[in-house]
Symmetry: C2
Subunit: 383 residues, 2 copies
Amino acid sequence: MLSSLGIVTPQYFTFGEDEPFLLESGATLGPVTIAYETYGQFNADRSNAILILHALSGSAHAAGYHSAEDAKPGWWDDCIGPGKAFDTERFFVICSNVLGSCYGSSGPSSLDPGTGRPYGLGFPVVTIGDMVRAQERLLDHLGIERLLCAAGGSMGGMQVLEWAAHHPGRLRAAIPLATTARHSPMLIALSEVGRQAIYADPAWNNGDYYGNGKKPDAGLAVARMVGHITYLSDESMQQKFGRRLQAREQYGYEFQTEFAVESYLKYNGNNFTRRFDANSYLYVTKAMDYFDLSQPTGTFAAAFAGSTAVKFLVVSFTSDWLYPSYHSKDLVRALHAVGADVTYLDIESSWGHDAFLLEVETMTRLLASFMDRLADEEGVRTP
Amino acid sequence: MLSSLGIVTPQYFTFGEDEPFLLESGATLGPVTIAYETYGQFNADRSNAILILHALSGSAHAAGYHSAEDAKPGWWDDCIGPGKAFDTERFFVICSNVLGSCYGSSGPSSLDPGTGRPYGLGFPVVTIGDMVRAQERLLDHLGIERLLCAAGGSMGGMQVLEWAAHHPGRLRAAIPLATTARHSPMLIALSEVGRQAIYADPAWNNGDYYGNGKKPDAGLAVARMVGHITYLSDESMQQKFGRRLQAREQYGYEFQTEFAVESYLKYNGNNFTRRFDANSYLYVTKAMDYFDLSQPTGTFAAAFAGSTAVKFLVVSFTSDWLYPSYHSKDLVRALHAVGADVTYLDIESSWGHDAFLLEVETMTRLLASFMDRLADEEGVRTP
């Protein structure tokens, strides 16, 4: 196992104190705080920056440990660190928590300076475009003119595509993994079921539950269970659980958790309520549902017409039924149509959507070789 | 459109008053009532009976109308009636509501004679095997020695397979549609999420809500929404809804139902709570999750070793991701291994799991020709 980054420290950037941040909806938000972490060092001309974008329930803590007591490192520690795919001895790696989340960036659980109480549903609905424009402010703050690369999977991949489509001058390469340029009705339906599970919880109280002593944990847990099913595949569930019973030999003929797969869902559903905010779940899923790069023209090609200088590495996974490969293929077709430089791989994997995090060996090889070539082609100096 | 059966009348058969019905769990139940309907007439030797088996949320009302005011006929009216695939001018068609349901058969909402109150969770957990053995009592009552055929889709198909595996002497043919001989962990996970949504509703009150003035409608609606997603396919959702907004032109940037697919889910979820009992949802899904014909030997072939005299028509649908075609292919392989007479079709359809009800033309042609040949081969006389 390659060495980790060791202890890393969360950082915060706040903007919009004087002039509030204008959102796509027309609403404004200010001040806006973005939580982020950085790993590695800038090189002389700050041309070695990589922006890592996280998925629905992720945070800025992508690598390393927050304290020596942490049981687990950041969510993409497998790929970020000295000698790893995103090599922190060569690159300056940034990961920022999205707007609307609950991990340090402004979101529904943040204090509304207007009322002195948490925003709740008073927080404005944000889009993937808003998340990315907030990240752009962070780049300005860090003095980064152009990213070497933006990379991420799932909702992280949507942000990558948003960067490439609407801010192509600010990145040299884009790595969207297991993602889509447009949320399909199936994806919207799955998001909506999760939201409905939260709405159905009386403790949700129309989003006003902070400090009530009771959170909509039951609803959020159900939403998360739906999510976990969609992150796996039929085949990986078969391999991981089969019809194995948990802690018993025979059917109990009662309504208890008895199959191993039920136990897995329940554990993960409950666990999630200790680390995630139900309102953030609503806001972040809504942002994903609104995501459609084919708008307003109706074609993806139009969205990427100005992105021909960006180098793309597009990756999908054969057993991912949440973001099936055809989403990536549609994207690649559009990128080819505008003459963009695209490498596309549809990786054979049984791990479903989670494959972008679990296929470590394949992803490491692929990302490392893409980053090597990119750094060479762009003449990026080591710090 | 072919003519319907017109007005039909629900019927009820009660047994186990003296000696209670022994369930697979070892528990007993008595008395047991089974709601059923029949269409058409017996022939002289009662050899023309077809048993139709319904899915999770179905009832005995498979065809015709209960009153002249009914907006819709029974759930499989497309295929049952004079001149239809299951031709009521030739066959005596029976459909019985499963044990554990809430449409007239004994279930958790029935009165427990021991307490004078509804059973609630006091109702014993039942299996697909128990449902079928209750139907066997109904056949005895109706004087049917051997069915010409048992047919059904989804959970109905599981009952068909249970009949063929464990009561092969009582049917000449079996038509399992869009089903499986063993619930996979993916199917168990989807069932469990629905159950967890019900448990999470405080109105569920551990199953004791009858007469409380408040039912766990919110939880049941979420469970049903999950179900509806699994009955459709990515492609059919695209065709049916796309990203169309319901009753508005632009994103509302608020947490209201705005996409057409959200509206569809919400409507169907809420509607379901007016016609189905949440506890029955628990019992019936549990019966499906327990279903595994490979037990106790570990192979499907062993289960069907005694079924070589039964003629099988097995049908799956290419876009059904709830009961994917490989389930049917595994079954067909086992049936071939024991030398059974099997016709298998994997029908190209974009309608997902619902295809067995929606592909009316294809199903009519297929079922009618199978039934014609079967009746000829078995020398079944018209009534």
